[in-house]
């Protein structure tokens, strides 16, 4: 799908990546998965947040790749990092104690309370309809980072009322579930899709549409959401990608 503005043509994936990049602030420490999160984080680092600290679970602290890494173990991560540590160390010394500001996660299913499923589709774990890759670093990223940003392509299949399997805990069933479990971080505070932006309601923790990307309607969003979606009173409109942002994103992709 591509959307035309007055001047620029860009895809909804590009809008999503750029919206996610904008959410990152200068100086933040960001724990990044490969794929959409890595793309967004690297766009941010190469535009408005040059001192963003990228941490990859493969052990690269402060990686500064000049192209998108092909995998979590891409050599460019080690070569450009401030420090390279073992995998046990990255989880135990750096993630677990709460040293990371933002955990950037993807999802196969995301539910209305920000819980993430990357394990199985279907109700029976032993006989899944679809076997997904599994947890990776996500459960502890979701638990320990100060905040979690989720980036996911939105559809009724991915945006569900309740995930089939809680791989990574978001807000549980809402209303203080995280605090009850003693989880240190704030959990998913921001969800960015190819259609819009969502934040948990401050009282119920239910994900609420807070911004629409250019050209997207609330109707379209509702059709791509598997629950009765709440919409913020003041619904914002995401500014379209600037030519600078698109240039950075496309240069990164081309270099890869």
């Amino acid at each position: 799908m591509s959307t035309a503005t007055t001047e620029l043509t860009y895809t909804s994936d590009e809008m999503m990546s750029i919206a996610a990049a904008r959410a990152l602030s200068a100086g933040q420490r960001c724990f990044v998965g490969i794929g959409l999160p890595s793309t967004a984080a690297n766009v941010a680092r190469r535009s408005h947040a040059p001192d963003l600290v990228l941490i990859y679970e493969s052990g690269a602290l402060g990686a500064k790749p000049d192209r998108l890494p092909a995998s979590i173990g891409d050599g460019i991560l080690a070569e450009t990092a401030d420090a390279v540590v073992s995998v046990p160390e990255v989880f135990n010394y750096w993630l677990q104690p709460g040293r990371i500001d933002v955990g950037f996660l993807g999802a196969a299913q995301l539910d209305k309370f920000g819980n993430i499923n990357t394990t199985v589709i279907g109700d029976d774990y032993a006989n899944p309809v679809v076997r997904l890759p599994g947890a990776g670093g996500a459960p502890e990223i979701a638990a320990s980072c100060h905040e979690v940003y989720v980036i996911v392509r939105q559809s009724k299949r991915s945006f569900v009322d309740r995930v089939d399997f809680v791989t990574s805990f978001g807000h549980g069933r809402g209303n203080g579930d995280r605090a009850r479990l003693g989880l240190p971080g704030a959990g998913p505070t921001l969800v960015i899709t190819d259609l819009g932006v969502y934040r948990p309601d401050e009282h119920t923790s239910e994900l609420t549409l807070t911004a629409l990307h250019p050209g997207v309607t609330v109707e379209q969003v509702r059709e791509a959401t598997g629950w009765q979606l709440r919409v913020a009173d003041e619904l914002a409109r995401t500014p379209a990608p600037t030519s600078d942002e698109l240039a950075v994103l496309r240069a990164l992709k081309e270099a890869s």
Binding site: I34, G35, E57, S58, G59, A60, A70, S71, I72, G73, D74, G75, L77, A78, E79, V84, S86, V87, P88, F91, N92, L95, Q96, T119, Y125, N127, P128, V129, V130, R131, L132, P133, G134, A135, G136, G137, A138, P139, E140, A143, S144, F165, V166, T167, S168, F169, G172, D177, R178, L181, G182, L183, P184
Partner: protein, 271 residues
């Protein structure tokens, strides 16, 4: 002291039917050639352990070498799913695959406990997730000082761990660098170990960020240049991204896979 032998001899000697076998390498330095040798030698009933089972585990599973997989993330990095893994889990083909599923933090700490001679490790993990309800090797433990409840996971002590490294010297001391993942822990946790290396050299010159596994901590070393292909060996070879993409159609189709398997078994040269 690690003896330097051929890959075929090392696998024949160290890997036995029914063993718990860990091939480690976190996207970098994956011991793929050793995995193919296990396929060629038709090992059976293995419990395969690996944080990130990817193509080589898809191949081992499809070839019927495994009865169980202990893991935390199984996929074809940058491409998509592992279809032989899926086929085994969803359809029991070529045979049923039992799975024991953790998070990366849990798996890493299981290796740390194994390397440390401890029966278990403690972490802040799994809280609120469904993993603890489907995985019996996740329990809770109470801090004797604060009363706080934390997760406990048992040590992994494989019968044999296999890793790929850049170099060894003739005495069998092993050197690796770049992203070193959980390889040291995997080797130290195992009863036996095999390290395939890009080259055997007279002297291990120090390398930035390099670590050395002393010869007396390793069982066997085999010189296997390119033994990590299609993953990469920093300083020696690049990642073959095409191979990862090309694996997808082979893996999706049982017949295509069986052709691959036949080729691999007969030629002795990994496709």
């Amino acid at each position: 002291m690690a003896e330097i032998v051929s890959l075929a001899d090392a696998v024949a000697e160290l890997v036995r039917d029914g063993d718990v076998v860990a091939l480690e390498g976190f996207t970098h330095l994956i011991p793929v050639a050793a995995g193919h040798e296990i396929i060629r030698q038709r090992r059976r009933d293995l419990t395969l352990v690996r944080m990130t089972p990817d193509i080589v585990y898809d191949q081992l599973i499809g070839a019927g070498c495994a009865r169980k997989l202990i893991f935390s993330w199984g996929g074809n990095p940058g491409v998509g799913s592992l279809h032989r893994f899926r086929d085994a889990v969803q359809n029991g083909w070529p045979e049923p695959l039992e799975i024991e599923e953790h998070s990366h933090a849990g798996m890493a700490n299981r290796y740390v406990a194994g390397a440390s001679g401890l029966p278990f490790a403690v972490l802040r993990g799994y809280t609120g997730t469904d993993l603890a309800s489907v995985t019996s090797t996740i329990k809770q433990i109470t801090c004797p000082f604060t009363g706080e409840r934390l997760a406990a996971v048992p040590a992994i002590n494989a019968d044999v761990s296999i890793i790929h490294a850049q170099r060894a010297d003739r005495a069998g001391n092993v050197q690796l660098w770049g992203l070193v993942g959980v390889q040291k822990e995997a080797v130290l946790a195992a009863k036996r170990s095999l390290v395939t290396v890009e080259e055997v050299v007279d002297e291990l010159e120090p390398v930035d960020g390099g670590i050395v596994l002393p010869s007396w901590a390793v069982t066997r070393v085999a010189e296997v240049p390119g033994g990590a292909h299609p993953s990469y060996a920093q300083g020696y070879s690049e990642r073959d991204n095409g191979y990862y993409a090309e694996w997808d159609p082979i893996s999706r189709d049982r017949a295509e896979f069986e052709k691959w398997l036949e080729r691999t078994r007969t030629t002795g040269v990994p496709a």
